[in-house]
């Protein structure tokens, strides 16, 4: 409509701006949310981690497709079932010019459990680690509590600090508050800290002492803009060079706009429906007496069959979702190739299955969903409820603010609920363990299994896989486990969210599956 006119006008301005911005190699990024802290070990949260990784390097870095690549460690190998040795790069220097040594690595691991008040602590990635020690000046030995094949992926989440810069009188050394003021922010990464004003710009500049290929940008500016429409407007007017998450409603126009380019990554965040399979009468299914229809596999299959995943991906998600029948995209570890394509919608078969299971007239069900936690969450739930209703299962949506939703979910108040799961390891074991492993929160199993699906065979397979160090054998075990859950309809996958960025023409971004926006991966075509 008129916005086209607006866009044209904006594009003209944009061209003019472009002429000026060529000289200075600055990169302005409109980010969804600013970091909650600059302390690299305070909060496991995308806005924090992506800023950290511009200034700090981990020992092992995940590439955009979540495959581990050497970073500060040039090589690593397990020396026994529980001991790993990491050889550090000798040419790596911190931004203050001092060289990286094994002491810095040991200091980094020491500090993690000491950081107070962390909303999500980095201990998440160190809980399998028993000991970290310096083997020599450039080698680090890590001992795990038990055979643990995922150590390398865990380590990829831990940026290495400088012992000299991050030490201090407090037990943890430099405190979170000091980091927020910019103190102790000395890393080995491609950029270094310049300034941060809460609620406004965070500025970094090129680190002259960087060990890798020097970054393409003199300066990087992260500007927090929560409103997607505001980010879009800023990109169109040339205020920023790059934005996270363009609004799904605008994406079509963005893709055809000659002044812009769009970067998409394979998504690893699976949006799914969990079904209550505890065995007791289910709270959201009235009028069935002591029976829970969801205990019947045919009913679960019918619910899955009646969802038109392609229509949701196209219409509700504006194309930034990949409809699927699996829990992890295919090239990743443990995904099943045959399950990747979305199952075709078949309402007639769904009805037949329901009748066969003894519900020719269907039943009523409440579908819970958070409102505002995942991309278009409540809208997807309403659409699925409509699809279920057409197949004969009269569904009603209960949408709640996220903290209210999670409380209800943890109290098992939903018979069915929509949620999403982001996999950061590139391996399906964590997904299966959390979503469909038998609920044993003390062991970290079934932590997000609000449907209380429980399958001893599956648990056994997962246990076996987690102790199998051989990659090929582990992969087979995991694929078998994945197939086991999916063919039992223990959980219903809907689609993968696709992380999207929009950039001005001439820039390209190696879009990352983990949704991080890393300025070092933005390149200019010239």
């Amino acid at each position: 409509m008129n916005s086209v006119k607006t866009r044209l006008a904006a594009s003209a301005v944009f061209l003019l701006m472009g002429a000026f911005s060529l000289s200075a190699a600055d990169l302005k990024i409109g980010v969804k949310s600013e970091p909650s802290s600059l302390d690299p070990q305070f909060h496991v949260l995308v806005p924090n981690v992506q800023v950290t990784f511009a200034m700090f390097d981990p020992l092992v870095m995940m590439d955009p497709k979540l495959v581990p690549q050497p970073a500060l460690a040039e090589s690593w190998k397990p020396t026994s079932d529980t001991v790993w040795e990491f050889t550090l790069r000798k040419d790596a220097k911190f931004s203050d010019g001092s060289p990286l040594t094994a002491d810095d690595v040991v200091f980094t691991f020491d500090r993690i459990p000491k950081v107070p008040n962390s909303p999500t602590a980095f201990t998440l990635f160190t809980r399998q680690i028993a000991k970290v020690e310096a083997a020599d000046a450039h080698a680090v030995r890590i001992t795990t509590k038990q055979p643990y094949p995922l150590l390398v992926t865990d380590i990829a989440n831990l940026p290495i600090l400088s012992k000299a810069a991050a030490s201090g009188p407090a037990p943890e050394g430099k405190t979170t508050v000091e980091f927020n003021r910019g103190e102790g922010l000395v890393g080995t990464g491609p950029f270094k800290f310049v300034s941060w004003q809460k609620g406004a710009d965070l500025v970094l500049e090129r680190n002259p002492n960087y060990w890798g290929k020097p970054a393409a940008w003199d300066k990087v500016i992260y500007r927090p803009m929560t409103n997607p429409a505001a980010r879009a407007a800023a990109l169109l007017s040339g205020d920023i060079d790059m934005m996270e998450d363009p609004p799904t409603t605008d994406l079509e126009q963005f893709k055809t706009n000659p002044k812009l380019s769009v970067a998409e990554a394979p998504g690893t965040r699976i949006v799914y429906i969990a079904l209550d399979q505890k065995g007791e009468p289910s709270p959201g299914i009235p009028g069935q007496g002591n029976k829970n229809p969801l205990m019947d596999k045919r009913v679960r299959e019918a619910l899955s069959l009646s969802i038109d995943r392609k229509a949701i991906a196209e219409r509700v998600m504006g194309g930034v979702a990949v409809a699927t029948g699996d829990l992890l995209p295919e090239p990743m570890f443990g995904a099943v190739k045959a399950r990747q394509a979305a199952p075709a919608v078949d309402t007639a078969k769904a009805k037949a299955l329901l009748a066969e299971a003894g519900y020719p007239n269907g039943f009523q069900i409440t579908l819970g969903t958070p409102n505002g936690r995942y991309v278009n969450d409540a809208r997807i739930a309403q659409t699925i409820a409509a699809m279920w209703t057409r197949a004969g299962v009269k569904a009603e949506v209960a949408a709640a603010a996220p903290p209210v939703f999670f409380k209800s979910r943890d109290n098992f108040e939903y018979s069915a609920y929509l949620a999403a799961w982001g996999n950061s390891t590139g391996e399906i074991s964590t997904t299966l363990r959390s979503l469909v492993g038998t609920r044993e929160p003390s062991k970290g199993s079934g932590t997000s299994n609000g449907g209380r699906y429980s399958n001893p065979d599956l648990d056994a397979l997962l246990d076996k896989a987690s102790a199998t160090m051989d990659d090929k054998a582990r992969k087979e075990l995991l694929q078998k486990a994945d197939e086991m859950v999916l063919s039992d309809y223990g959980i219903i996958p809907v689609h993968f969210e696709v992380p999207v960025w929009a950039l001005r023409k001439g820039l390209s971004y190696a879009a990352r599956a983990d949704q991080y926006t890393l300025p070092q991966d933005v390149t200019s075509a010239k």
Binding site: S3, T120, T123, P403, D410, S434, G444, T447
Partner: protein, 323 residues
């Protein structure tokens, strides 16, 4: 006089106590803030550790008493979400809100001449149009006006940005956006939205005051003396209607700060009102409580100042103001 002030402050304390109990118990029952913070992969032990770190493992009454004890020493707790002191978060966002409200209130002064006009000739069609317009500005929801302005200026004409705060310039530790052109462009629509409702109110106050003053003897006398109408207007009328107008403007300043919650949400203005809404939705209790306490004190003190000023000007007005 001092008794009166102390009385008011005690009242404020009472309100704060009642409200903080309400918010504490309410937010406690309604949901679990940690579920948003903790990683979904976290084990029960890690969840417990977080609850303990935030003090949420204790009984709600113990939590409340701890809060009261700390609050008495000026510590309102840390945001669950960011770990920063709640008060600091609010103070960081305050300049944006105050800036928006001051510009909006300044704009609302256009209501004064319109109100005088409507008061001088109450039967004229122009006056009726002004009054009908003021009903609209006064009764239409603020967010609706904002929406229409966005539609017109940002979507249809494409001349002004629809949201966010523009470029800021630091003066000391405080960032102002009224010092840059970009800042003004971003400020225009939200300030207009907030200002329109206040202008409508100004019209009504001014008109009422004008109509009250007009039949007074000194106006009649001035007329009889043959003074020029413009002089009567500027000297005799304006001087006398100014007191109620300033009173209302003062009180409305407080209301506008509270109402900025809505305007800020529509325009994604990064002020403290937006912070309140976000905190309510994420159940970030320390921030909600700290905001409310600050707001109560601010409103009580504002009322107090207005009352005292009023009494200083017009001792007989005491009852009138309290009404």
């Amino acid at each position: 006089m001092p008794v009166f002030i102390i009385n008011r402050l005690f009242q404020a304390l009472g309100v704060i106590l009642v409200m903080s109990v309400l918010v504490f118990v309410g937010l406690y029952l309604i949901g679990d803030p940690t579920s948003m913070l903790v990683s979904p992969e976290a084990t029960e032990i890690e969840r417990q550790a977080l609850r303990k770190a935030l003090g949420l493992d204790q009984s709600i009454w113990l939590q409340y008493l701890t809060f009261l004890g700390n609050a008495a020493q000026g510590d309102f707790g840390r945001s669950f979400l960011t770990g920063q002191p709640a008060l600091q978060l609010i103070i960081e966002r305050m300049p944006a809100t105050v800036e928006l409200v001051i510009v909006a209130m300044t704009f609302s002064v256009v209501g004064v001449p319109l109100g005088i006009l409507a008061g001088l000739r109450p039967k004229a069609p122009s006056s009726k149009a002004i009054m009908t317009g003021s009903i609209l500005g006064f009764s239409l929801p603020n967010f609706w006006i904002g929406l229409m302005l966005i539609m017109l200026f940002a979507v249809y004409l494409g001349v002004l940005p629809a949201s966010a705060r523009g470029e800021t310039v630091n003066v000391g530790p405080v960032a102002f956006s009224i010092l840059t052109i970009d800042g003004w462009q971003h400020l225009a629509l939200p300030a207009l939205t907030l200002g329109l409702a206040k202008a409508a109110l100004m019209i009504r106050v001014t008109r009422a005051a004008t109509r009250e003053v007009l039949p007074m003897d000194y106006i009649k006398f001035a007329r009889a003396k043959g003074l020029r109408p413009s002089r009567i207007l500027n000297v005799h009328l304006l001087k006398n209607i100014l007191i109620p107008i300033i009173t209302v403007a003062g009180l409305e300043f407080g209301q506008a700060i509270a109402f900025a919650v809505v305007t800020e949400s529509v325009f994604s203005w990064p002020g403290m009102g937006k912070l309140l809404i976000d905190s309510i939705i994420t159940l970030d209790r320390p921030v909600v409580v700290a905001y409310l306490i600050m707001m109560v004190f601010f409103l009580v003190i504002l009322n107090l100042v207005v009352d005292i000023l009023y009494m200083a000007i017009d001792p007989s007005a005491r009852e009138k103001v309290r009404d």
